[in-house]
């Protein structure tokens, strides 16, 4: 007990001395001001000012964050640059990182989040891990305790580098002001080049407060890091030869195409070779949904035809995808008949899950056109026709009743389809995680690139709302529709506060089934309908939105749906459309986890 009291005292003493320091800085006499002016001319700046200048040098104009003791100096510096650097104050640091992710995913730029030491940084972890799994370029700046206190269990100290190193592309601690510009420059280069990913820069408070001469140079080279492997001519030729000889080629399109801005190169490649393709969930908006060669989505809840055909094609062409287990099902039975060509920028993805015949390592924007040059123009009409009966089967057994039900409760797919049609496939679709996510991926139609923002690799509930906020900042001219479940919304619902404060115009479509639906689906199928802890008693969501000044409407009857969607899209500002959907809906088709990709459940509905 005594020990505890002592600790409390020392914490109080510490924060008290912190305040004195801050006040001391602010109380500057005229003399000091004059000196400051001279220093500015010589570009001797405080670490915090250097941070802000460096961010501006990297073209950052928006950041998402939350203040605290270890970053007050940075927030103080931001105060002077409000016109050029917008800070979006979120309600929880997880939201800051997800917002930065949403921003990065739709804009192609690096997303930036700013959080304080200790709990601020640990709250950011989920977002950082999510960005790592989905290769999202992020720079997360965390404050850290003063460098002489490092390792002493100081107030709000956490070993941020130790914790984040395995879930980042690079994590670096800055202890001296002289290192700041260098570290930020490196951070942006690493986050955005090659296979993108999150970088954490942990900056000790004294480095923020001390001063040094400022100059900034953007990093373009690090000897230990080669982001883009050079294309190998013989591999390019081998790939083209295989494709030219193929009778039944199938291309698998992943997010790597989007990350490499290679959508047009991909389209030219596919069209010249007449190659049917299907996308991973994250790869979906790289090609238009309505493209004549598009055969849909791959994987556990993907379309029947491309999953079956993965095991019948003769040449499988994977482009910027990583053969995730949700895409392949059981690897022992996956695509054994096919010769596999793998295009990827990351050598460590080659032969990781599926053994390849030809590895084309490099930037798809470079490698695809090189291969396209060697391609013979083809069509493959018979092969394309083979997909049709499978698609018809899926349509009859699953899609028709999901999109156009004849009575009964409203269905998720029905809502997604209506929103997609009402926005003419031009909106950005952001999702949370669960049944509604898979329904959105299945039934939202895309006509524009970078239009689906969803947590793929980590499957993070709570991602949708803050990511949608970030997406709106990344693409202010586009309509942002956030599909979210009743469970996931409540994981980050406090971000309604961010929407309120910054008047963020996002359309939130809550597909409320009063269940943790995706888990309930597994319980129904594999746990004898023992619904353990998946039924949820929910609040009045429209009232909650109302408390934040967000317009809302709850729809329970099908007749109201079209009107409500119209009202939502016509409304100037954020809108919550709660749609009460069937409680026990199922996402079909489904390949049970670990089973062969051709072992597809279609459910009982006719």
């Amino acid at each position: 007990m005594i020990v505890k009291e002592n600790q409390v005292q020392s914490v109080v003493a510490l924060s008290a001395s912190m305040e004195v320091a801050v006040r001391g800085e602010n109380r500057m006499g005229e003399e000091a001001n004059a000196r400051k002016e001279i220093e500015a001319r010589e570009e001797i700046l405080s670490g915090s000012e250097i941070i802000v200048r460096a961010l501006m040098a990297e073209g950052v104009d928006t950041l998402f964050g939350y203040p605290g003791g270890a970053v007050i100096p940075i927030f103080d510096a931001l105060y002077d640059h409000k016109e050029r650097m917008r800070h979006i104050l979120v309600r929880h640091e997880q939201g800051a990182v997800h917002a930065a992710q949403g921003y990065a995913r739709v804009s192609g730029k690096v997303g930036v989040a700013l959080v304080t030491s200790g709990p601020g940084a640990t709250n950011a972890i989920t977002g950082i891990a999510d960005a790592m799994m989905d290769s999202t370029p992020l720079v997360v700046i965390s404050g850290q305790v003063t460098s002489n206190l490092l390792g002493s269990d100081a107030f709000q100290e956490a070993d941020v580098i130790g914790v984040t190193q395995p879930i980042t592309k690079w994590a670096h601690q800055v202890r001296r002001v002289e290192e700041i510009a260098w570290a930020i420059s490196k951070a942006f280069y690493i986050a955005s080049s090659g296979r993108p990913g999150p970088v954490v820069i942990d900056i000790a408070k004294d480095a923020q407060v001390n001063s040094c001469t400022y100059s900034y140079e953007r990093t373009t080279f690090l000897r230990s890091y080669q982001p883009v492997p050079e294309p190998e001519e013989d591999r390019i030729k081998q790939a083209a030869e295989l494709i030219n000889r193929a009778k039944k080629p199938l291309a698998l399109v992943g997010q790597g195409v989007t990350l490499g801005n290679a959508e047009h190169e991909l389209q030219a490649f596919l069209e010249k070779g007449g190659i049917p393709f299907a996308s991973t969930t994250l790869g979906l908006s790289a090609m238009p949904s309505g493209h004549p060669l598009n055969r849909g989505m791959l994987g556990m809840h993907g379309n029947v035809a491309p999953n079956i055909k993965s095991n019948e094609c003769d040449v499988l062409i994977a482009i910027g995808m990583r053969f995730d287990d949700r895409v392949t099902g059981n690897l022992d039975t996956y695509a054994k008949q096919a010769k596999v060509i793998h295009f990827d920028i990351d050598l460590s993805e080659m032969d990781k899950n599926v053994m390849t015949t030809v590895k084309v390592v490099g930037d798809a924007k470079q490698t695809l056109p090189l291969v396209t040059d060697y391609l013979e123009e083809r069509t493959h009409p018979e092969w394309l026709a083979e997909f049709e009966p499978l698609h018809e089967k899926e349509y009859d057994r699953v899609i028709r009743s999901e999109l156009y039900p004849e009575g009964g409760a409203i269905k998720m797919g029905e809502v997604v389809n209506k929103v997609s049609e009402a926005t003419r496939g031009k909106a950005i679709c952001v999702t949370d995680v669960g049944q509604h996510q898979m329904m959105s991926a299945r039934y939202f139609k895309f006509t524009r690139h970078r239009s689906l923002v969803t947590s793929g690799g980590l499957g993070t509930m709570g991602f949708g709302l803050p990511a949608g906020i970030g997406a709106k900042y990344g693409a202010p001219d586009r309509t942002v529709c956030i599909f979210v479940g009743d469970g996931g919304l409540q994981m980050t619902m406090h971000e309604f506060g961010t929407i309120m404060e910054h008047a963020v115009d996002v359309k939130i479509i809550l597909l409320n089934n009063s269940y943790l639906g995706m888990v309930r689906q597994w319980q129904e199928l594999f746990f004898e309908e023992r619904y353990s802890s998946t039924r949820m008693k929910n609040p009045d969501f429209v009232k909650v939105a109302d408390a934040y000044g967000i317009k809302g409407r709850k729809v329970t009857r099908r007749e109201e749906l079209d009107g409500a969607i119209r009202e939502m899209l016509g409304h100037d500002g954020a809108y919550l459309l709660e749609v009460v959907v069937e409680t026990k809906g199922m996402v079909y088709p489904m390949v049970p986890a670990g089973e062969s990709i051709t072992n597809i459940l279609l459910g009982n509905s006719q």
Binding site: I161, Q165, P166, K169, L222, R223, S224, S348
Partner: protein
């Protein structure tokens, strides 16, 4: 399945926390590190890690090395089996002087194992032996069974490939070239 001993060589920038980055990759792959030795390399600012581990096959090693290589601070990582390497470990043995004298002559031990004697004091005698694991182990067992060993320590493996050049120098030369080309491009713009 019997496992093979692989030696992994890693060159990295000399930066805090690199060892941690490397070991997490072993941990995630469920690979146990047998020995580890770290030292500055001949090139300033570059550190060399020599790590040994048992693994089922080369496929495991290939994946491991690619994951290590992918880390930003790592310059180069590769793996070898014993045939490709000249390798060595060091062992120190501390014996009680009294027991050594009781035992009588140690000349035969010194000759048989090529032992060097580093220290003789009133209390202890310290032997040094360089060699492969089996060799340092054999001496340990013989000493333990005859004189008794007070303390024993063995270093991690150090190794050199039998091929002509260190692969790192090739890589660095190529990177230098790429850097120059990049700078050229910048000037042109």
């Amino acid at each position: 399945m019997s496992k093979t001993l692989y030696t992994i060589t890693v060159f990295s920038e000399n930066r805090v926390g690199v060892l941690n980055q490397i070991t997490t990759i072993f941990t995630r792959r469920q690979l146990n590190i047998e020995t580890l030795s770290v030292s500055p390399s001949t090139i300033e600012g570059i550190h060399k890690f020599t790590i040994t581990t048992f693994a089922d096959d080369e496929v495991v090693m290939k994946k491991l090395v690619r994951l290590i290589d992918k880390r930003v601070d790592i310059l180069k990582a590769y793996y070898n089996t014993d045939e490709d390497l000249v390798h060595q470990e060091l062992a120190l043995y501390k014996l009680s002087t009294e027991k050594v004298l009781e035992h009588g002559s140690i000349e035969y031990l010194v000759r048989k194992y090529n032992v060097r004697i580093l220290e003789i004091s009133k209390d202890c005698v310290v032997f040094l032996k360089a060699g492969h694991f089996a060799e340092t182990q054999a001496l340990f067992e013989e000493l333990a069974n005859t004189i008794g060993v007070l303390q024993f320590v063995r270093s991690g493996r150090i190794a050199i490939t039998k091929s002509k050049v260190e692969r790192l120098s090739d890589m660095l030369a190529k990177r230098e070239e790429q850097k120059r080309a990049l700078e050229q491009e910048k000037v042109m713009e």
